[in-house]
């Protein structure tokens, strides 16, 4: 079983829609969770970073973590064409020496004007 599973899409939505992006993971030792946005030919950009179960909101973006189900989500409200990108979830272990991230393969999102 892969450590992180992410639906690759592509996902196409109309402008203004609510987008839901999801990842599941198998290792309960993961304690820190991130979402990155990656535009074509650019490096990933950190969107959200959380270590708690529950919701974390930042503008139009909400990250949701359910550690009991090993499931994380990213919601985008009022989606815009500029949100068209690939979204990567990432996880890491806690504690000293936990230098590595485990990434999902990314979901490609297109927001159609």
């Amino acid at each position: 079983q892969k450590e992180v599973e992410q639906d690759p899409g592509p996902l196409s939505v109309p402008e203004g829609a609510i987008v839901s992006l999801n990842c599941t993971y198998s290792n309960s030792a993961f304690q820190y969770f991130m979402w990155y946005r990656q535009y074509s030919r650019k490096g990933p950009e950190l969107l959200m970073y959380t270590y708690s179960s529950g919701n974390k909101e930042d503008g139009r973006f909400t990250a949701q973590v359910d550690k009991s189900s090993k499931y994380i989500s990213l919601f985008i409200r009022d989606s815009q064409p500029s949100d068209s990108a690939t979204y990567l979830c990432a996880h890491r272990y806690s504690g000293a020496g936990s230098y590595q991230l485990t990434f999902g393969k990314g979901t490609k999102l297109s927001v159609i004007p």
Partner: protein, 112 residues
């Protein structure tokens, strides 16, 4: 604020030629540094990471190597490139354990 620079942005090299990609970080000290390769449909693959000058950990055996000659400089090298080395190479840094990583804009490497 912290910034990370990678160059070149694009590189085309013949098989068997050497490689040197450079990454520098500004605005922080003693960062953890990382080299990743991203191939289409395969996600991000960690190649090397470094927690200090001269300290390099390798994750994947291959014909690539990394060096950290200065605190905020990370170099990815190869003596002889293979066709399979083509890809998008990303450098990243973080402030320490339990901190998120921040990425540069990458180098797209094509081997002919």
């Amino acid at each position: 604020s912290q910034t990370i620079h990678q160059w070149p942005a694009t590189l085309v090299q013949p098989v068997g030629s050497p490689l040197s990609l450079e990454c520098t970080v500004e605005g922080t000290s003693n960062p953890n540094l990382y080299w990743y390769r991203q191939a289409a449909g395969r996600g991000l693959q960690l190649l090397f990471y470094s927690v200090g000058i001269g300290q390099i950990s390798s994750e994947v055996p291959q014909n690539l190597s990394a060096s950290r000659p200065q605190d905020r400089q990370f170099i990815l090298s190869s003596k002889k490139l293979l066709l399979s080395d083509s890809g998008f190479y990303l450098c990243a840094w973080c402030g320490g354990p339990n901190q998120p990583q921040h990425f540069g804009d990458g180098t797209r490497l094509s081997i002919l």
